[in-house]
Subunit: 265 residues, 2 copies
């Protein structure tokens, strides 16, 4: 047996895609979609200064009147508040049009085309930080099979984790993400505030935070709960509440989360 | 110049150390202190089954009457509740005795010796998970200079981050750790619960959680806050509260944290 190993290439359909919006997500979509082999037809941004930082040779436009209709798919990575306004200006009959928002209904796009949907990558993007799209879950939703199928193709070309969801599920994911991401960051900032008063850097907590995250990679968070509330160690809880007695808001938050952890036992 | 590179060895005093308590922390202390070059004189554990899983050849005792007085330092990695009881049984005049608790006053040890203190590694330990002590902050407190100095020596032999604190500061660190670690894990479990109802695995949130942690390694959490509350995006907040309308406790928690984030603007 001397045959050479065969590299199997998964066939992925490539599309002509226009991106309307060049914020943090738009920026990364443009880069990664073109790297993956899709053709970026046009990119719309009102802010011309942003076009200077693009690595790629791109047909930037700053007026939606200049939007060509020869792309297959139009992505709208724009702010939630702007979606309605932008949708009003688009007439893309027969084309696939998807917004990228966590919590806006897809029917905001219903006057643009009959093939509307959602393409929502579950990550927080910054322009300066390179992302590994392979590990970013992409949630898709399409008004019909054709739309879902094309959005699925494009998502699968970027990521190993594509999930078809309905509107309720997408909203659930967003609420869950707010708890897991925005609110946990707020708790880190509470810790920062407490330590700052004692002249100690919040950075001493980083190994502990990393260990918490390491654990939830292996076990469900509901199974890895530790701490005084979980142990029902009321002596320690009382010491902590006394420590927080001059910080009414934090004491309130401590009490509520402690009670909720206890009630889950 | 053909001289060989010189490896400079930092001189660290090595001690004879007995460990009273062989839970998760005791286990790791025994391993790491002996690897570092200290001599483990004895280890006390009531639970003889635990001695079988030790990799090292150790003089285990299960009766405090058998505790020898030829060690220099005695560590007490035992549960907060047990500290008082164990301390009552120790008469170690002239020796250094330190407990390893986050929130118990050091004077719980005052009848054991005149040289009492605290040796508190800021990490959550599991027996199965190897730890890198070099990155674990160790908080020390000593009733006198000699005690502080010895505890500092031992801590510095294990970790790059040794912090001398007073009792108030140690309590502050513990409260901060509860917010940053136990409470953030609870928020992850809330996210898990929300997603479970929609048949979606909490694991889709892991890249987002990791990104949150990556950010606080670079910037203070108070500077990296994102999300609907930070943006004062009340439309999204209202959608989320409506989604949570049947989950009274979670709705309450969402409202409180959202209001606190808003009030920090």
């Amino acid at each position: 047996m001397n045959s050479k190993p065969v590299t199997r290439i998964k066939k992925i359909n490539m599309y002509k895609i226009s991106i309307i919006g060049y914020g943090n997500l738009g920026f990364h979509l443009v880069n990664h979609l073109s790297e993956t082999g899709h053709k970026i037809t046009q990119v719309f941004t009102r802010d011309k200064t942003k076009t200077r930082i693009s690595k790629n040779k791109i047909d930037f436009i700053d007026d939606l009147e200049l939007l060509r209709t020869d792309a297959d798919v139009y992505f709208l990575p724009v702010k939630d508040d702007a979606l309605k306004e932008v949708a009003k200006q688009l007439s893309l009959k027969g084309k696939i049009v998807a917004h990228c928002s966590a919590s806006v209904e897809m029917k905001v796009l219903k006057n643009c085309t009959e093939n509307f949907g959602v393409f929502y990558p579950l990550q927080s993007f910054s322009r300066e930080v390179e992302v590994d799209f392979k590990n970013i879950p992409i949630l898709i939703e399409g008004v019909n099979k054709e739309t879902s199928s094309v959005l699925n193709d494009i998502a699968a070309s970027l990521s190993n984790e594509v999930i078809e969801v309905n509107q309720e599920q997408r909203l659930a994911v967003h609420v869950a993400a707010v708890f897991a991401n925005n609110f946990s960051n707020y708790l880190f900032s509470v810790a920062e505030e407490i330590l700052k008063k004692e002249n100690i850097s919040y950075k001493i907590l980083l190994p502990l935070i990393e260990e918490t995250v390491r654990k939830v990679k292996e076990h469900a968070p509901s199974k890895s709960q530790t701490g005084p509330a979980k142990r029902e160690d009321d002596k320690t809880i009382q010491k902590h509440l006394k420590f927080l007695s001059n910080k009414k808001e934090l004491k309130n938050l401590y009490t509520i989360i402690t009670d909720q952890i206890k009630s889950k036992k």
